[in-house]
Symmetry: D2
Subunit: 363 residues, 4 copies
């Protein structure tokens, strides 16, 4: 990771945090021992990425399914495979627990983990509601344990590069963040498309835009199974910054495109192309006032486009390395419980707004 | 136009209207004589397309600018070029007036035209507010004159093809209409991006979706000259149909993409590609209930994609032919004053909603 | 594989062969036991795809590298991992040998396998020269053993669909096959870009075009390590059919696009897009003679485009199933030793032509 | 044209020439008077672009068709419209003649023009054969008149930018020039696709690659009207530079893409996209020798991509300005008769090669 990102950033709540850097991963020779609960869709990626890390390792995997556990035993003979989460939570060989289970189980499992003195790495969204998230954050603080919410996208080369651009001032004042995340399926049974897809965009938006969001307006519609499958979120920020998120489970084509408008430069991030995912446009508009409103002089600037080479490391690998570094060296991760809580609050607000057909919900 | 579109459609207000068909253009040998007021950006396209029509012709062009008039005289020596609109409005050689001027002049010019017994072809948006539009519609009805609002997109091969698909039932029940219309500039001095760009999408949506919209939620932000340059509109329809329109003057890239989701088929319309603008996907989702909410069975259907050959005629040419046909043969155009009024009402509602940060405004 | 491809095809040498169909895989309950020699880049894919087949399985893997063997043991505890190829070749538990090693070792290993009574599945290109290929084909015929050359692309959904189109006559008479296969690297040390990349296109071309190629012209240039890194092949067929293959290791972008022109329809196959890899254009040109050469009347037909849903099965999975079926049920695979030999002859001819800067080399 | 291109370049024959720069267009107040012969497909573009130039103007247009002449008179009342080319050739008001007629008339008209003391601007390809071109070049030299061959592409922002990159050394040593120029139609009755489409690529290649081409290999096939509709040209240059041109009238899709590989950087020029036509890739391959041929160490460099803002002026406008400047200020245009002759020689060689199925034809 030659183009080191940003070594320090001011977290929204004022605390100093650190952006993941591979340089920081020396970690003093320690090795974080992780117990993974949940080996369904995402769990195997966690275990695979823990495998081969220098500062952390998976020592235990827990799942109810015996098939899942057999896969674990076959692929990783050195990892203990168990059925009962309490075995992980109580094990003296486990320093941290990765909770990779459905969202409705997060609160209970994370609470138990913290109570047993384990650090927590937990799937997004953090919890089912903000009260749970607040309680976990408070508990972790009291027990001096770390929580990291797995907002994997923040560790992609694309988002790291865009963060570099916003932090350095290259984009100038931000105008808007506008994301389109649509595809066919995968329908969730118990949560709407907002809870399924929007956490990605909300966490990226939260990471890139330093200001605190003021309010949310959400609209959308249900067509098939009683939860919204199409939704549109507007997030208002101070200084006229606006964010918009379009999530849809009923699109015939898959789109993952985000436009970010700044005063100096603008970004188009297309996550589905193999190369040149992030394109930076030297374009802009300048308005100078002539006499009277009808005489505003508008000038457009249209310069080069530039697609920087992005860091190619797998995001989850970088994230887990950073998790181990934060735990081992007592650093506050930027994607900590507070970050997770902010996202859950926005999801709650969006849900409240969509119920009332777009009523403004203040955060 | 071999693949004849739709020969008859029920207008929203119940009246029978007719979709433009070239077959209908015989028109009984008459020739509609048009006076064009306004020869700025769009006026020359109107005059060029009137040129060479079989059932209508431009006989007079009016503009304040002597440069503009000189261009008219040079290019069309047979057309009278005048400075005073009243010359057009009073001329016995003019049957219909094309009002191709800024929106704040529409009401006055159209009213004068109708009062002088002229049919009216008028730029979008129809008027600056719905009261004006209502008055013009009423006046035209009283004087038995036609009004056609120039929603040119409705006459493109792309929209005609999509209309064919919705009318024939090929898409099945509509789920959503989602349009992205963004680019860098062109800033208007006195109207927001909503009044500038959204009329296109609203008129297409109004044409394709037969139901009456119930309410609008609009969000957006101003960054440069005191009017919204970024805006997001949600339009609620009965039967869970939802429309969304994303308009933006501050995008580094130009995008004109509309997704239309139906129960049976889905459409992606990309207006910026040279070929295959309209792509029809045989894709869908089916939900059958098992036992309990968590046991809903979701199945996805993913079949062929098909990009039909589209009618290549210039939209404005088709539209002006249709205008002449409606006037000469006393037909009610589907893009008449009522249609224009519906769009203006939605623009007003969007403006009211955006002022209150997304408050639901009923239509 | 609901849209069953083609159940029978006339092989170039007149023998009846069968196109792989999953329907045929019942196989009578037998299980083909495969020994895999070579576990470098491609070998793991072979073993993974053998895993879970119903009619064949990997029973032994051989590689010189102890790291490779350890990976085998870890992932597939049930498979014997050995260092000496002779252990595979002599094993009574092995019915067929998969030779997944560098091309210069193919002849010797395949010959030994046949001599030990094993069927052979072998990487492309078949051998280093046509004399070797001829000897192996003759040996296999004498010993009544099967050879299948791993031209994996022939088993992709894309090529299977295009084959269906050419076989059914949907494209009409073929005009040309034009393939662009360029990217940055991967440089081979001992063979040119022709031997590295062109076998893919030559084997697809050979599969799709029933006629025998008449002659080859090849041009190209060396820039870095003494072998051609850029090459252009023209293959002449009877009836004015022409094929062209552009292979390049020095392209800044990766392109995998093939144009296929037929009298009735035309195909664009872009293998790098996730969806709609194969697009079928209802386009064409018709020439009718008027009086005199200058009065030929040319008319263009431009109709719909259609992207059929393609079979999603992994090509190698389909191919190995087909291999087992051919061996177990004594069928002649269409990608047999003769097919491999044809490709090697074309590679030799291309090499001879490029040495003489494009001299026509008859096949 | 702020990013001034290249102010001076060494022409292939050793003479100093100048690249068109708008800075040079002052021209000393003179005005070049041009007579245009031919007002069919391309002629109107010539006349339109002459209109409004500061250093040249169209004074006369000649065409056999009275319809064409009527269009001239209507659009440009100030330009004399005549039927007989001799009126143009003999007119004392004409300084230069633009020959915009079919290629088989070029030699005769250009010769007459030169004999009457007129400078010549002439459509590509220059002449039907090289003997004609040589004679015209000799005649112009003897009479001290200019010939400029209309290789319009050389004046596009894209080619000017690429020229800047090759001249400045930014690309490093050139490896290859590879162009794909395919579409459906337009069939010519008397010339093959080589004479129709390849002149564009040959002239660009000739402009960008300073070395003299050594030999040509061409292959192709006829399918419809007795002339090649598909053709592939390879041009060999010294120092292992190779150029390849793929031209095709039978492609279902239109492609205009050129890859240019250099040691330091690589270019992809896609002429069909609205923005970012020229993309520059900081990519490359480095080979360092280890011990033995199998131990060559290959390393790949993959850096940023950059799409510079291109000059937006219409190419023909820039070219005609440059023509006038060369005539008025006695400069040798880089696209002079010698350049035209070089292209004609390559076309002849390609034709000779294709007749003999790829035989190498030395230049």
């Amino acid at each position: 990771m030659s183009n080191s990102l940003v070594t320090e950033a001011t977290q929204k709540n004022g605390q100093k945090t650190q952006v993941a850097t591979l340089e920081s991963r020396s970690g003093g020779g320690n090795m974080l021992r992780v117990g993974v609960i949940g080996y369904g869709y995402w769990g195997p990626n966690i275990v695979r990425n823990l495998h081969g890390q220098k500062n952390c390792q998976a020592v235990m995997v827990c799942d109810k399914s015996s098939n899942a556990l057999n896969r674990v035993r076959k692929t990783y003979p050195g990892i203990e495979a168990v059925t009962d989460p309490m075995e992980v939570l109580r094990s003296p060989d486990v320093d941290a627990v990765a909770v990779i289970t459905p969202v409705w189980t997060h609160y209970e499992l994370a609470k138990l983990a913290l109570e047993h003195g384990k650090h927590v790495f937990i799937e997004k969204p953090f919890t089912s509601n903000s009260a749970q998230a607040e309680e976990l954050v408070e508990l972790a603080a009291r027990k001096n344990l770390k929580i990291m919410v797995d907002h994997t996208f923040l560790f992609t080369g694309a988002v790291r590069k865009i963060k570099e651009l916003t932090e350095s001032g290259a984009l100038g004042d931000l105008y808007y963040y506008d994301s389109l995340r649509v595809n066919l399926g995968l329908f969730q049974h118990d949560v709407s498309v907002i809870w399924d897809l929007a956490p990605h965009d909300l966490s990226i938006m939260d990471y890139l835009i330093k200001a605190e969001p003021e309010a949310i307006v959400a609209t959308g519609e249900k067509h098939l199974n009683g939860v919204e499958d199409v939704a549109y979120l507007t997030v208002y920020f101070p200084k006229n910054i606006i964010a918009h998120i379009n999530v849809n489970w009923l699109s015939p084509v898959k789109i993952r495109t985000t436009l970010i408008g700044g005063q100096k430069k603008m970004v188009v991030w297309n996550d589905l192309v193999a190369d040149e995912k992030v394109r930076i446009y030297d374009k802009g508009v300048q308005i100078t006032s002539g006499e009277g409103i009808r005489n505003l002089l508008v000038s457009y600037r249209s310069g080069d486009m530039w697609a920087p080479q992005l860091e190619q490391l797998e995001a989850l690998h970088v994230e887990l390395d950073y998790f181990a570094d934060c735990v081992l060296n007592d650093k506050v991760p930027f994607n900590d419980g507070h970050a997770g809580l902010r996202i859950v609050r926005m999801l709650e607000a969006a849900e409240a707004s969509i119920r009332k057909r777009g009523e403004l919900v203040r955060l």
